[in-house]
Every structure is written in structure tokens, then in C-alpha cells.
């Protein structure tokens, strides 16, 4: 009885219901902003903590599940996506989020990233992209801009940075791509929310400051709002008056157009922020693969017996 009453009560949650421990990220780290946006999302969407799973790989950002009071799985480097796919395939009733970094997703786990886009499973994927390896102490990542000085590139990164947006938008079955920045929390929240509501693989690249290793990297963008290009649309980001006033560099962008999204994704300065692409029509792999059959012992038994029948040698009664 009490349990039942309690449940009715539980339908509304507070931020505290999602907060677990004090994050051990550096002060000023962009991960804190992402955590705040996600906890707010969970509360606003009344996500049952026991029905919500955060899966991560390895890296600063992958500590994320430890700071959520939901289920979490802090896995191994690069493999957050296939772990999350397994969770999703097994359990359509759960909300599954993935926290991954630029090293985790775009380097050691790059093969999984490409295929995860193609599977288009219903996952909300947050790419915490600070353009540097943090936990291992300042090595160039695939998204580090050319010339970035790091412990493995003391004279500057040799190669042009990989662009996670163009890569994702180039893969068959892409269904949701957005870009956010940690220093505009209101917009970050709106984008994460849209990603959560998208049925399919929602990929959000979040540019994120690393005050420890690359404190200057995003400073010009943080200081000068004109270096951010906000993408607005009735089916995309909707700007509040305050935001529109501050970020006057904004334009219409229809997320329905893949060609427009691909073109927008190539832009680096100003940084495009918003929903670049969304297509609700792409089927999800789990829906293509899962049957609606209820797996009872009888179903398994009859399936098994039918298979045994194919291979059975019955006692021969002829002779």
C-alpha cells in the first residue's frame, strides 16, 4: 500500500534525485555544465532514476555516470557505444545515454562511432569534446587544432583536426546531429533536450573548455558572442529574447536538409551551434531486430523441439 502511494509521489523528482557526490572535475571544466544540463533534463522529463542508464568509456568525461544517481556503467576506453547498444537491445524500456570524449569516441572508439551512427539505435550520445586528452595529461586528440602544443606534439599538432560533425553527417542512416557549447547553458540544455526526444541515435558534439590543459582554446569564442553562429528554426533551436540579444549572429537553418547540414558542419569560425540535422524517419536497429514475441519457456521449448525435429534420427521400424 505504502509502496503504491509512494510511487504516485515519486512521479515528480528534484535535482537532488539525480545528484551523486561532488564531481572531481577541475573547477571551470566544461563537464560541470554538461552535468548540470543533463540533471535538469532528467528532472524536467521526470525520468525514473532506476530506468535511466548512463554509459561511458574512459577519460575525464567518462566519469560522468559516477555523478548521477541513476544506473551507470563506466566501461573501458572507446567502447561506450557498443556497451550502450547491448543495453538498448536488451532493454527497450530504459533511457540510455552515452558520455564519451574526443579521444574515446573519435580515436580509440572510432570504428564503433561510425557503426553506431549506421545502427541508429535509440541512444542520446554526448560527445564531450575539449580537443585534448585530459586524464592522461595533455596529449593531442584527433580534434586538436593543427598546431596545438601538447606533450606528444611539443612543436604543435601535425595534422588538421578531424571534424566530428562532418564525419557523422557523412554516415548512412545519420538521424540527429547537433552542436552545443558548454558556455551557453540555456542553449546547451535545449539541444540536449531535443536530442533526448529524438528517437534514434542523437549525436551532440559539445565543445567544452579544459581550463587545465588548453585554457585559451575557446576564450575568443567565450568573449566574443559574434564568433558563435546560432542556428534557429521552428523545428530546431528557438532562441529566447535574451539569447537572441546577446548572440545576434544567428540565422535560420532547417534541420531537415542533409545538404545544408553538411555545409554548415564544415564551418569552424564562427562556431555553428544548434540542431544541424534531424530525420525521424530512419529506422532504429533494435526495432528492426527485436520481435514482439514474449519469450516464454513454451516458446523456447517449441522452437527448440522444431529444430531437434530437423536433425532427429528416429528409431528405424522398417526392418
Amino acid at each position: 500500500m505504502n509502496e503504491c502511494l509512494l510511487r504516485l509521489h515519486d512521479e515528480r523528482f528534484e535535482l537532488e534525485d539525480y545528484q551523486s557526490g561532488v564531481p572531481r572535475w577541475c573547477s571551470g571544466c566544461g563537464d560541470n555544465a554538461i552535468l548540470a544540463a543533463v540533471q535538469k533534463l532528467c528532472r524536467d522529463e521526470s525520468l525514473h532514476p532506476e530506468k535511466t542508464v548512463f554509459v561511458s568509456g574512459i577519460g575525464c568525461s567518462s566519469r560522468f555516470p559516477h555523478y548521477m544517481k541513476t544506473y551507470g556503467f563506466h566501461g573501458i576506453h572507446g567502447r561506450a557505444l557498443p556497451i550502450a547498444e547491448g543495453v538498448r537491445m536488451a532493454r527497450p524500456d530504459l533511457h540510455v545515454f552515452v558520455n564519451t570524449g574526443d579521444g574515446d569516441c573519435c580515436s580509440i572508439g572510432a570504428a564503433h562511432w561510425v557503426h553506431a551512427v549506421r545502427y541508429n539505435m535509440d541512444l542520446t550520445v554526448l560527445l564531450h569534446d575539449n580537443e585534448i586528452y585530459g586524464l592522461t595529461k595533455k596529449q593531442a586528440s584527433p580534434t586538436s587544432p593543427r598546431g596545438t602544443r601538447s606533450n606528444t606534439t611539443p612543436r604543435g599538432a601535425h595534422l588538421e583536426a578531424l571534424n566530428p560533425l562532418t564525419v557523422t553527417l557523412g554516415i548512412q542512416n545519420v538521424s540527429f546531429v547537433a552542436q552545443a557549447v558548454d558556455w551557453i547553458p540555456e542553449v546547451l540544455y535545449q539541444i540536449v533536450k531535443a536530442a533526448f526526444h529524438h528517437k534514434g541515435f542523437s549525436f551532440v558534439r559539445i565543445l567544452q573548455r579544459c581550463p587545465e590543459w588548453l585554457p585559451e582554446l575557446f576564450e575568443p569564442y567565450v568573449k566574443d558572442p559574434r564568433k558563435t553562429l546560432l542556428l534557429k528554426h521552428k523545428d530546431g533551436l528557438q532562441l529566447s529574447e535574451a539569447i537572441a540579444r546577446t548572440y545576434s549572429n544567428n540565422r535560420e537553418h532547417d534541420p531537415a536538409s542533409l545538404a545544408a547540414a553538411r555545409e554548415m558542419a564544415t564551418q569552424v569560425d564562427p562556431i555553428p551551434v544548434g540542431i544541424l540535422y534531424r530525420n525521424e524517419a530512419v529506422p532504429c536497429y533494435e526495432d528492426l531486430r527485436r520481435t514482439t514475441k514474449v519469450r516464454t519457456a513454451d516458446l523456447i521449448r517449441s522452437g527448440l523441439e522444431a529444430e531437434f525435429d530437423k536433425f532427429t534420427v528416429w528409431p528405424c521400424t522398417r526392418n
Partner: protein
């Protein structure tokens, strides 16, 4: 009327170029004999390439069928009768030393009149050589006879050969017709009809033209049996275990298990996920298991190596997981289609750090089926990784076993979604066993962050060295807890004697046959076959002490004691011998063969005879 010679057993091979259907012919022969009540064992002979050049010695593709009056447990020694579609593939088997002296060869004769003079002369030359070597060669106009029926010989020669073999071994032709209907049942009736026509023609031709005929007495079967190869048995085991997700990546020789599973799993609501790579296959399975649906990943050696880090995660996070490794020749790409038992130590000690996991090995086709069911159960009871080892020999061999009686206890219970009791922590290791309740997403009050980092009972990252040691202790303790539940491995033969042979995996049939043969000669030899390799069952040490000598027979490398450089300071032992020496402090010897072929009973007998000679020396000196 021909004289019918009664045999105790015969080994038959059908050898062809790839794609000529020799394997289907042999499998059908095996099934027919099994239905008659004979014991059978079939072994596929698989070239490394899909389409090796036609008429090449290295391209020999086919099948060996051992038919016996009683139960047959392995592929046996040398071949008594071969049907060969050309003389070059036949030479492949001759050179491999697989044919018995004086063995009967039924050779396609079309090459004698071939328009290419080189083909013609190769054929005639080989024929001469075979005759000189004492083989009993019969030329058979298989091609011409198929053409007489107006049917394409390249598609139908195999069924003509099946008809001949039915006649030679006095098998019921009607069973042959039924077998064809079963094998081609998915195709249209015309295909079945023309194949039956070929079967009948082959039978009639052999009746009219061959001057020999055999009969291998059969005991009419009293119970239904199923005839499948080891990989199909594995897949059926997955079905029967109640697991619902199998994540895999294509690799030889494991893949055929997933092919079959892919065909049938969906009918019972299961999913075969072909992942983008081996690591993804393993982590996908881990994700599914974590979410409450214990999953399986099926692979072979190189794929197993790739999964190692992920397996360590499952060990650390105590996620139940079944990993099947259908072993092949290694290291590296090695011998993809050949049998070897080279992965035992990798299975036990693989992944970095101390990663205790359960290792089982299937030793028969039937075992392939039941091992998966047992593995799933152990995985979920102990929240552990269970590795099931089979090999390329079991993967493609067929042997009938009693049709399993379905037991609802095989099936995994549905994921627990009840609220976790107040005060219970995610890693509340029980002091006596190391076991902790598994928290499954969806369970109220169970929320925590599972992690591959060292962690305390609350699943919080451990920075305290004591906590790390506690976790290590309890993860290890679970193996001991499982060990206490294991039964002693039975001894085949007397409980004491001169030599005890110990083996694991697919060598069981050959070892026991060798031991039976030696015992019939009066030798005091017994054998023991291990199903659990980690933990080891009780009683092994005591059993070994009751024999003068102990030797393992394994298909993995050990240094040969006869080698000039090799002595007791540097000899590398076979995997099981190394383990037994380390655990029981006894002088366990080993003998191994890594030729990629199943070890033959006769080879084992020779080894044991040598050992016996030394055993009596040891006693008399």
C-alpha cells in the same frame, strides 16, 4: 549374388574439388548409417581457400565418415575406402598419409579421355603410382553415368556417389531417398527428384559393376538421436539456455554456429548481432548482460585475443558473460580451418591483471550442446565470465547423441526488477563465497555506477589500497566456491595402474579408444578427461598418485624431449601438463601433436606403449 563381407567398422572418405558436394554426400551417408543404427563420426576436410584451383593437391575438399558396428567417438586412424572425383585431390590425401595401405579407391575415370594431354598424362601417371603403391584402384565412370540420365554431373556426381556407397555398405536405399528429401527439402520438388534419380543410378551401377560389398552390423536404435556438428550443437545450446542475445563477428571456424543461430534464433525472440568487430561483439554482449539478459559471444582464437580487455571488464564489474572460443591453429592467423587446443592458457590467464574466470571445454558433440546451458547457469549464479572452449575438430564433426529432453530449468529466469532491499550495497560480497547480489537496471534502490575501476562495496572508485585487495580476494573466492560444487572427474578404466592419460576437449574419443585398445592387450592404462579446467575438479591429485606415470595428450605445442637443446630447465610443457605440474607438484609428462588434424587413437597408443616401456624400466631398475 555378391559375397557380402561383414565388417566391424570402416572409414570412408569422399574427396573432390571445392563445391562438388563431397561433404553433402558424406553427411548424408553418415545420417543414413546412423538411422540404420550404426555408430558414426564425420570429419570435414576443408581447404584453406573458398575456391582453390580445380584439380590441385592442396585443394582437397571432402569428408571422412567412420561407420562402426558400435558407438564411434572419433575420426579414427586410416581410411579404408575413398571416393575421389579427380586424382589430384586424391593425391592430397595420399601425401597426408591418411589412407590405409591397400585401401580401396573409387576414382572418377573421365580424366583418362580428357582432351588436355597434360591432364590425361597426369591421371595415367598417378594411376600407375597408386597401383604400384598397392592401392586397390577402381575407375568409375561417374561423369558419364550422370550424363546418361541427362543430368549435369558437376551438380549431381555427389548423389551418384552416395548411391554407390549405399550399395557398397548394404544401406537401405529408401533411407537414402528420405535423406535427400530432407537435405533438399527447401528447394523445389524437381531438385529432389533428380537427386533421387542420381542416387538410384549410383546404387544400381554399383550393384551391377562392383564385385565387393560390405555390411557393418547395426543395432536398431531404440531412442531418437540428433545428428549435428559441434557448431550446430553450440547454437542449439544457446537456444536451450534461454539466452536471447548473441553478438559475434565473422571468424573461422566459429562462424557457422552463428549462421545456424541467425537462421533460427528469431523464431524464439532471440537476436544474433553481427558487430563491427570482435571488441564490439564482446562489449555489446556485456551491455546486454549488464542490462539483465545474459548474453553470449562466439569467436575463435584471434577474436578471443581481441576480446581480452573487455573480458577483464566483465570480470572486474562481475557481469555474467558466456564466451565461446572455437579454437583453431595459432598463433596469429595460424591455421584457420584446422584443429588445435592452443588457447587454454589464454582463456585462463588472459586479460591483464588477475582476472579469474571459469573455463570449460566440450569434449563431444553432445557436450557442445550442454556446455552452453551449464555455462549460462554458472555465469549468472556466480556473476562471472565463463569461457567454453571447443575446436575446429568438434565444430565440423558429426556424431549422433540422444535427443535432449527439454528442461525448463535450462532457461534463464527473467531479469529481476524488484526493488533492492534497504541497506544492500551493489558489491555486498559475502565473506564465505565472494558472491554479491547483481543489481540490474530497472530495479528501484539499486542505482549505482558500475565501474571497471577498483571499487568498494558501494561501487565507489577505490583509492584505498585495502579496498583493492578486498575486491581481488572476493572475485577470486568465487572460483573456489564453484570448485566446491564440482564432482570428481571420472576415470576411464581402473583407478590404479601404470599409466594415467589425462586430456581435455575434443581428444576424448581418441584417448578413450586408445586406452580401451591397450587395456584389451593387457596394459594397465586408464584415462581421465577434464570438463572443467578452471577451477579444476577435486580428486585429480589423488587419482594421479595411484599411477606410476601420468601423461597428458594435447593438441598444443610442447618441446620434444629428444631435441638436443631441450632439458628439464627449458622444456615448455603442454598447457594442461603445465597446470597439473604446478598445482599437484607431480611429474606430469605430456605428448602433443599440432598437425591441425585430429589426434589418432593409434598415435596415442604408440605414445602410451613407449611410456609403459619406461614405466616398467623405472620399476625394474
Amino acid at each position: 549374388m555378391k559375397k557380402i563381407e561383414t565388417l566391424r567398422e570402416h572409414i570412408v572418405e569422399v574427396i573432390s574439388d571445392s563445391g562438388e558436394g563431397a561433404q553433402r554426400c558424406g553427411q548424408s551417408l553418415g545420417s543414413i548409417a546412423a538411422r540404420m543404427g550404426n555408430g558414426i563420426w564425420t570429419v570435414e576436410i576443408i581447404p584453406a581457400e573458398i575456391r582453390p584451383p580445380a584439380r590441385s593437391v592442396a585443394g582437397a575438399s571432402g569428408i571422412r565418415i567412420r561407420i562402426g558396428a558400435g558407438p564411434v567417438t572419433n575420426g579414427g586412424d586410416l581410411t579404408d575406402l575413398v571416393v575421389a572425383f579427380n586424382e589430384q585431390v586424391l593425391l592430397g590425401r595420399v601425401r597426408a598419409g591418411e589412407l590405409k595401405r591397400g585401401c580401396t579407391i573409387l576414382l572418377e575415370s573421365m580424366w583418362r579421355e580428357h582432351k588436355d594431354p597434360i591432364v590425361k598424362s597426369n591421371f595415367l601417371e598417378t594411376l600407375k603410382g597408386l597401383g604400384a603403391a598397392g592401392y586397390r584402384v577402381r575407375e568409375i565412370p561417374m561423369d558419364a553415368e550422370c550424363r546418361k540420365l541427362g543430368l549435369a554431373p558437376e551438380r549431381g556426381k555427389n548423389m551418384f556417389a552416395l548411391g554407390m556407397l549405399c550399395s557398397i555398405y548394404s544401406l537401405d536405399l529408401q533411407l537414402g531417398r528420405e535423406q535427400i528429401a530432407l537435405a533438399f527439402g527447401k528447394k523445389d520438388r524437381k531438385v529432389v527428384e533428380s537427386n533421387v534419380k542420381l542416387l538410384d543410378a549410383g546404387h544400381a551401377w554399383a550393384e551391377a559393376n562392383l564385385d565387393f560389398k560390405y555390411r557393418i552390423p547395426a543395432q536398431a536404435p531404440t531412442e531418437p538421436k540428433i545428428v549435428v556438428n559441434g557448431n550446430t550443437a553450440l547454437a542449439l545450446g544457446v537456444l536451450a539456455s534461454g539466452m536471447e542475445i548473441c553478438a559475434m563477428y565473422p571468424i573461422t571456424p566459429a562462424t557457422s554456429a552463428s549462421h545456424y543461430l541467425a537462421d533460427v534464433f528469431e523464431k524464439v525472440g532471440g537476436v544474433v548481432h553481427q558487430a563491427e568487430d570482435e571488441i564490439a561483439a564482446c562489449t555489446f554482449a556485456i551491455g546486454a548482460s549488464y542490462a539483465g539478459k545474459c548474453a553470449v559471444t562466439i569467436t575463435s582464437g584471434p577474436g578471443y585475443s581481441l576480446k581480452q580487455e573487455a573480458i577483464g571488464l566483465a570480470v572486474m564489474a562481475e557481469i555474467p558473460l558466456v564466451v565461446v572460443n572455437v579454437q583453431r591453429g595459432g598463433p596469429s592467423t595460424g591455421q584457420p580451418t584446422k584443429a588445435e587446443q592452443g588457447d587454454l592458457l589464454a582463456a585462463m590467464f588472459g586479460s591483464h591483471g588477475d582476472a579469474p574466470k571459469v573455463v570449460m571445454a566440450a569434449s563431444t558433440i553432445e557436450d557442445c550442446f550442454y556446455s552452453v546451458i551449464t555455462a549460462r547457469k554458472i555465469a549468472e549464479t556466480f556473476n562471472m565470465v565463463v569461457v567454453v572452449l571447443t575446436d575446429a575438430n568438434l565444430a565440423t564433426s558429426q556424431q549422433p547423441f540422444p535427443r535432449p529432453q527439454f528442461d525448463p530449468a535450462w532457461i534463464a529466469p527473467p531479469a529481476d526488477q524488484s526493488a533492492v532491499p534497504e541497506g544492500v550495497q551493489p558489491d555486498d560480497w559475502e565473506a564465505a563465497t565472494g558472491l554479491a547480489r547483481r543489481f540490474i537496471p530497472g530495479q528501484p534502490r539499486g542505482m549505482h555506477a558500475l565501474t571497471g575501476l577498483a571499487h568498494d562495496r558501494a561501487s565507489h572508485v577505490a583509492y584505498d589500497p585495502q579496498i583493492n585487495e578486498e575486491g581481488m580476494h572476493f572475485r577470486s573466492l568465487k572460483l573456489a566456491a564453484l570448485q566446491k560444487t564440482l564432482k570428481a572427474a571420472p576415470i576411464h578404466g581402473d583407478a590404479e595402474g601404470d599409466v594415467l592419460v589425462i586430456g581435455w576437449g575434443s581428444t576424448k574419443g581418441a584417448i578413450e579408444e586408445a586406452v580401451d585398445g591397450l587395456r584389451a592387450e593387457g596394459a594397465r592404462v586408464s584415462s581421465m578427461h577434464l570438463r572443467f579446467l578452471q577451477p579444476l575438479p577435486p580428486g585429480i591429485g589423488e587419482a594421479m598418485k595411484r599411477f606410476k606415470k601420468v601423461i597428458t595428450i594435447e593438441a598444443n605445442w610442447c618441446d620434444r624431449p629428444g631435441d638436443e637443446l631441450i632439458d628439464e630447465n627449458n622444456r615448455r610443457y603442454s598447457a594442461l601438463a603445465l597446470l597439473l605440474r604446478a598445482r599437484y607438484l607431480l611429474d606430469v609428462d605430456c605428448w602433443s601433436e599440432v598437425k591441425g588434424q585430429p589426434i589418432k587413437p593409434s598415435s596415442i597408443q604408440q605414445v602410451v606403449r613407449d611410456k609403459l616401456a619406461h614405466a616398467s624400466e623405472a620399476v625394474t631398475s
